[in-house]
């Protein structure tokens, strides 16, 4: 892959790298907020692929899907933050390791 000119592969590579960073954040961090934000980064990586393929095929359906993904991400962030407020009231922490009472 050459550095220049910029092809769709460049954008897809960037999308894959951002997705990997997001996965690493979700898997390794214990802070609920950082996990939630890594999730948003993963959604954005997928959006970048959608927009790239929209330009490759000259079809705007990808843009419509990005708008849907953004709306669902907003709903997910809203519910996720409500859950963390309820959990914080219960245990006074946002450490994900502390929330395992369902296990035993």
């Amino acid at each position: 892959m050459e550095l220049y000119p910029i092809t769709p592969n460049h954008y897809l590579t960037l999308s894959a790298i951002l997705f990997a960073i997001g996965i690493a954040g979700v898997l390794t961090r214990k802070n609920f907020f950082v996990t939630l934000m890594s999730l948003e980064l993963m959604l954005n990586a997928v959006n970048l692929s959608f927009v790239t393929f929209a330009k490759v095929h000259g079809d705007m359906t990808g843009h419509v899907f990005v708008l849907f993904v953004v709306s669902v991400a907003a709903a997910e962030a809203c519910v996720g933050l409500a859950i963390v407020i309820a959990l914080f009231r219960l245990k006074e922490t946002v450490n994900l390791d502390m929330f395992k009472s369902l296990k035993n």
Binding site: H10, Y11, I21, M37, N44, N47, K55, H63, A74
Partner: protein, 167 residues
């Protein structure tokens, strides 16, 4: 040439901001760097002729969702000694990244993508503008669009039910 320079600046910024985001102890710093990453991604969307998506990225993500996240972080008012046990373990993050690149992304990036000769198609001048995307939403995707309003309503009611002390 200019396009390539702008692409590498924005791509580098988004990757660096992403890496900084998953390694900060303080969630406020994470949120601020993520806003930077979203800004860089909005620039990339604009480079891909997706002007409406780029504006929505700034308005809804950087302006709406991240403000909500920062608001809740400040509401819970965590102290430094609360945050210390949750700090990033660089070894774990590095290991996870290496494993991901070695097993999943490496084969895709180095074996699958080089064999695909995708090229940019020639675009109409009004590709990705508010008007054309809006026409698509309100003709082909009107039913998913209405379902989406139902999802948002459910999320609002669900968040209220969970976050409220007593109903």
């Amino acid at each position: 040439m200019l396009e390539a320079i702008v692409f590498y600046i924005l791509a580098g910024a988004s990757v660096v901001f992403g890496l900084v985001m998953i390694t900060r102890v303080n969630p406020i710093s994470s949120a601020m760097t993520l806003v930077g990453a979203f800004g860089a991604l909005a620039g990339l969307y604009a480079m891909l002729n997706a002007s409406f998506v780029s504006i929505i990225q700034i308005l809804v993500y950087a302006g709406g969702i991240m403000v909500l996240v920062i608001f809740v972080i400040m509401l819970l008012n965590l102290h430094k000694d609360d945050l210390e046990p949750m700090k990033a373990q660089p070894l774990w993050i590095g290991g996870t990244l290496v494993v991901l690149f070695g097993t999943i992304l490496g084969p895709i990036l180095f074996c699958v993508l080089p064999n695909k000769d995708w090229t940019w198609s020639s675009l109409a001048p009004d590709f990705g503008t508010l008007m054309t995307v809006g026409e698509k939403i309100f003709s082909d995707f009107i039913f998913p669009f209405e379902i989406l309003s139902l999802i948002l309503l459910t999320a609002v009611v669900g968040a209220l039910v969970m976050a409220k002390r007593k109903l």
